[in-house]
Symmetry: C2
Subunit: 198 residues, 2 copies
Amino acid sequence: MFEPLYLYIENYSSLTLTQPEKELISHTFKLKRLRKKQYYLQEGDISKYIGFLIKGAMRMYSVDHKGHEHIIRFGVENWWMGDYESYNMNTPSRYNIDAVEDSELLAISGHQMQELMAKIPAVNAMIKLLDRRSNIAVQNRVHAAISLTAEERYQNLQETYPAFLQRFPQNMIASYLGISPETLSRIRKHSMMSKKAI
Amino acid sequence: MFEPLYLYIENYSSLTLTQPEKELISHTFKLKRLRKKQYYLQEGDISKYIGFLIKGAMRMYSVDHKGHEHIIRFGVENWWMGDYESYNMNTPSRYNIDAVEDSELLAISGHQMQELMAKIPAVNAMIKLLDRRSNIAVQNRVHAAISLTAEERYQNLQETYPAFLQRFPQNMIASYLGISPETLSRIRKHSMMSKKAI
DNA sequence: GAGCATGCTTGATAAATGTCAAGCTCATTA
DNA sequence: TAATGAGCTTGACATTTATCAAGCATGCTC
């Protein structure tokens, strides 16, 4: 059950975990199972735990005053889920996180994570690199959001995270791109027609 | 000249710098002066240095196929400037960075930064926290970009970084928000009129 | 198998935003 | 001082995207 996490840490840190380190990890993280549509975090709660997804698919989103959902982040196997802002600042979250498929994640509190980082160099290095990579990824999303048209953003997503398109329903993809489901439907129709033309 | 940087590191790390540490820092960072409109980085270059702004104002932006500029990030005193993606991955940058006012920054290479982080705990802690904060800030920007209207994004900027509105010309603010200068002008007119009405 | 919910598509129309062109103000410079 | 250019505003119009409403599959539940 913890194998994917060990591998992930070793990959991201370029270090090897010792047996005692693995045991410490397996005793610290707790397995959490979620049914499809079940909440992992609700708006207003504090994100005390952050989770490493070992199975399933999840999303983090806000709900605006009109009741529309806006997806900030998707997660599938080997991704971390949680509201970093709430988790790090100990503030109530503006977001909801729920399971899009039946999911399993390994959860750890902020306090426990600090301990693991202090005790296990590989975990420390992994988090450092993760923060860095995440920064880059989010910045690229900002770039896409402010400089590309809806159609270009869709193509960009196709190139960057093709797996999402298979995994999440179209209305969620639209929400992730910041457009309405109708517009996404029309964009797809349009781009299929231009492919045929070639 | 290095005082602001020492203070910044001490603040972000909650640690105090020793005299030898300060000397190491002052011998590692190099002062770089930029005239208004001068480039710090041009598209296609690799961002070898990252700079801590001690004076002035700068921006990082991309230019699209129509020649339009899209501002990804602003920087003023006590902000870091550089393309993190290019800096960390050693890849050519898609962005330009230039000075909006005459500016001075303290520059350091990625390699030198690794060394400082290894030798000075405060620098290590500072970078860790900076990466974390930056993640949160960029994620909030994604949230704004996909879920708010142009007018709401402007109000959000007013609340989050009011200093930017004083410091950067309106057409750059528009570019940062992902809207045309004309639209921003109309939004401002509109929100001034509703203020008067109150 | 009937009924029902969910997700996707399509059309008609409305609202938001972009584009183009012109004019105005202000600071800078020749 | 005149001239220039940069930045901001405004109007007319075009384009993009959202909204609302309807219909159609598909799969699930009783």
